[in-house]
């Protein structure tokens, strides 16, 4: 059963510039789908349409059977069930780490301060950052901040997770600590949609790979098919460039 369905989605930034062209795909429960493609191909935009951070003009998107594209009033509630991790972490710099993890729990899920804190500490332990609970985001390294950002999404008990280039803003030595957490999540059966250039990660944990170019889904294939014998020429070129070294 699909957790996320994207059906014939098109989006224009202005009447002349189309960023998404009739995109159709789906992500099953427990599936890990990697979205890749050259910059400007619309992959970040596509993943942001799933929790309606980017509105679309045409097509429908559902998450867990609920239509995201027509929903208005309950949108915040739906978003709280879809975890999102951003390229630039986007932790709230004026709040302590633990407060970052509690904000959504108390304001959106209505949890008490105590239970939110307990949950926050549990998640921090999971990403190995308990010692930093009382610090501010600016005092942590990029890799640590991104792990906090993952924990901030996890405390909401999401039914699926979206990752928008979670490692592209990181120094090379910090990429693995973030990928490790993501691999762990994938193994536990979390439904994940991941925009990334980390082909090692894709090979290791992805079930499917979606290749985008110029706003179109050019290829949507099982991982082994995609890496073994990509059908489209554009995907072949992309792979040869990205896997050259």
């Amino acid at each position: 059963m699909p957790m996320i369905t994207i059906d014939n989605v098109s989006k224009w930034y202005n009447p002349t510039f189309q960023v998404l062209k009739n995109c159709t795909t789906s992500v099953d429960k427990g599936e890990v789908v990697v979205v890749c493609g050259p910059s400007g191909s619309g992959k970040s935009t596509l993943i942001k349409t799933v929790n309606a951070l980017e509105p679309v003009q045409e097509g429908t998107i559902t998450v867990d059977g609920l239509s995201v594209t027509t929903m208005k009033k309950d949108l915040p509630k739906l978003r709280s069930r879809v975890g999102m991790v951003f390229q630039h972490f986007e932790l709230f710099p004026h709040l302590r780490i633990v407060e970052n993890l509690c904000l959504g729990q108390t304001k959106v899920l209505g949890r008490s301060e105590d239970s939110a804190r307990a949950k926050a500490m549990k998640m921090l332990e999971r990403v190995g950052l308990t010692a930093h609970a009382e610090k501010y985001p600016g005092q942590l390294s990029g890799g640590q901040q991104q792990r906090v950002a993952i924990a901030r999404a996890l405390v909401m008990d999401p039914i699926c997770m979206l990752f928008d280039e979670p490692t592209s803003a990181l120094d090379p030595e910090m990429i693995n600590e973030v990928l490790d957490v993501m691999v762990e999540l994938a193994k536990e059966g979390m439904t994940m949609m991941v925009v990334t250039h980390e082909m090692g990660f894709a090979k290791k944990v992805a079930n499917r790979v979606i290749f985008m170019d110029a706003g179109e889904i050019v290829e949507d294939a099982q991982k082994d098919d995609f890496f073994g014998s990509p059908r489209s020429e554009r995907a072949q070129q992309f792979l040869s460039k990205i896997l050259a070294h």
Binding site: R79, H94, G138
Partner: protein, 230 residues
């Protein structure tokens, strides 16, 4: 030069300088700051509004105010206000506003333009990603503003607001053009009357410097204390 320096004239005029002069200077500063902040917030929200008419009106207002010297605005309002009043109230004769009220209205309107720009910059300085992150964890527009955008914007703009208030405190001395007795005006009057220009103007300078320098010092300390670690 200082051999015939008469400290006594300062001492004698202290009650007049502070009870009359400084009281007015501070009153004007406080009223124009509070009024300017309230009005400025509305102007900033109008300017950020998606309604073109509102944002154009706000932008024109801000640009007009910022393009005119304050002295000119003080004069213009003083001379125009009676006629504007007459027009609004449809009276037969120009409405007498008086230098005092005219000054307070002018400074409030003038400062509103500056404060609105500070507020607008403060709100816009928060990256779009922060707003997205707020929405992504399920907050609604009001909650995102209240818990994510405004706390950060406020920290960014508070020192600038205080600095603008210090500038305003100095600018209030411009009311001399309407012969109002502010602190500098009071010092000036004593200086002319007693022929003690050096003493009185030096003393006024020391007072202005002490107040503004101390205030700036505290603004800097405040800035350090509330600034966000990035």
């Amino acid at each position: 030069m200082f051999s015939d320096f008469d400290f006594n004239v300062i001492w004698r005029s202290l009650p007049y300088l502070f009870e009359q002069g400084m009281t007015f200077t501070l009153t004007l500063t406080v009223i124009a700051t509070i009024g300017g902040l309230i009005l400025g917030t509305f102007v900033a929200l109008m300017r950020l509004s998606s309604n073109v008419a509102l944002s154009t009106f706000a932008a024109s207002y801000v640009n007009l105010m910022r393009s005119l010297p304050l002295v000119l605005v003080i004069f213009l309002f003083y001379f125009l206000m009676p006629y504007i009043g007459q027009w609004i109230m449809r009276a037969d004769q120009p409405v007498q506003v008086g230098a005092y009220s005219s000054t307070i209205i002018t400074f409030t309107l003038f400062e509103a333009a500056y404060f609105s720009e500070i507020m607008r910059a403060g709100i816009q300085s928060i990256p779009r990603g922060q707003v997205m992150a707020g929405y992504a964890i399920g907050l609604n527009y009001r909650e995102v503003m209240r818990h994510v955008v405004l706390p950060q914007a406020f920290r960014n703009m508070l020192p600038v607001i205080f600095t603008q208030t210090i500038v305003l405190f100095q600018d209030t001395s411009l009311v001399y053009v309407l012969s109002i007795t502010d602190f500098l005006g009071a010092a000036s009057k004593v200086a002319q009357r007693d022929g003690r220009l050096t003493e009185m103007y030096l003393f006024a300078a020391v007072v202005y410097f002490t107040i503004c320098f101390t205030a700036s010092f505290f603004v800097k300390r405040l800035q350090k204390r509330i600034s966000i670690i990035r």
